[in-house]
Subunit: 218 residues, 2 copies
Amino acid sequence: MQSETIENYLKTIYHLSGGNGTIVNNKQLADKLNVIPATVTEAVKKLHDLKFVIYEKSYGTRLTALGSKTALSIVRRHRIWETYLANELGFGWDEVHEIAEELEHIKNDKLIRKLSEKLGNPSFDPHGDPIPDEKGKIQKSNFIKLSEAKVKYNCKIMGVTDHSTAFLKYLEKHELIIGASISIKIIEEFDNSIVLVCQKKEVSISPKAAESIIVEAL
Amino acid sequence: MQSETIENYLKTIYHLSGGNGTIVNNKQLADKLNVIPATVTEAVKKLHDLKFVIYEKSYGTRLTALGSKTALSIVRRHRIWETYLANELGFGWDEVHEIAEELEHIKNDKLIRKLSEKLGNPSFDPHGDPIPDEKGKIQKSNFIKLSEAKVKYNCKIMGVTDHSTAFLKYLEKHELIIGASISIKIIEEFDNSIVLVCQKKEVSISPKAAESIIVEAL
DNA sequence: TTATTATTTTTGGTTAGCCAAAAACATTAT
DNA sequence: ATAATGTTTTTGGCTAACCAAAAATAATAA
Ligand SMILES: [Mn+2]
Ligand SMILES: [Mn+2]
Ligand SMILES: [Mn+2]
Ligand SMILES: [Mn+2]
């Protein structure tokens, strides 16, 4: 079985490559995993030997089919746990990521299946991220970034791409939570800030924040 | 924070010493932890340096107050998870131990508190073992081994001391589950086997099995 | 008490994961 | 094209956990 370290590498490569097989470089991995690039060099060599990635010296690393499948199963475990912690145990969406970061490494298929069933086999986690199914298939959506929405659009908040506590707390304060309906009132010409209505209240959102909010245009 | 290895040592020392501060020797630990005695020697030296145990060379090891407190919190996590897996996710009592063996190492007090609350702060796990509270206090009971029960006793099954799948499956087959009411019909003179009635059916139990069943005499 | 057996410790060695510093490559700017 | 900068690799070294084999202790049997 893979170690926790290997699993964290695979998951990180998966995320950095944006889900498709894009090449990832050592610096990016080193930054995300809080190790120095020399450590990454060693690690990706090993992952290559284990057939999880193709590592081309001084160039970069990409997942093989095996690596991709493995990464997806870790992502699945992570997001099932996040959903479980939020929906069944009442944790806030800003708290679940950290705990899931540990729980994701428990390798027991039956456990994940039972959790998933209890949750009604959800396709999205509390941040709106898709949960791969047992085969690794991800339900794809036609969601857009809030920053791409136009004036007068009516949208539903489906997720966030920034998982920081600060950001999530900020959203909560304005009741900008998953599932909330919003309508775009104004997009300021000079700075692209967005004025929208949510729960009958007007809120102004910076373009930076709008970049991190995922919505479905209705 | 303590590593998983250290936690497993502490928990094992706790169990081998029977909960009180009895001295444990290297051979016992080596057997339980599936390592060789030389490895244990190194480990207990380290645990001593960390103030978790008192290790006396060539003699044995016992938990300090700190070690005991730490061990108790691991036991608590283990048993809360076991209860959760059994009661909320529908795992069999023969399946929960193995999974809890991993889950017990997730150190998040809030998580354990939430799980415990959801379960109604139980005092006993699916095997009838007591769950220490946050302070490490164990609710003590006046349970006896079934092998100590006398003829005509009416009892309630409260736990088991053998957690093997084989044994638990055997009990299930005879509907000898936690909470079941039984009455002792006969205790055979020549081999101490016990004939009892459970769910209106007569069952004969070997003295070895009776040693591993914990009951409350009513 | 001496011999035998069991347990414990010491010593030397391994592997996984990490870092620091220096050297080798690549990329970008001038 | 050359210099400056950024990235990657190499080399040497570290710690936590493990094992094997040999030496030292302790416990038990003769
Ligand atoms: Mn992780
Ligand atoms: Mn998520
Ligand atoms: Mn464990
Ligand atoms: Mn138990």
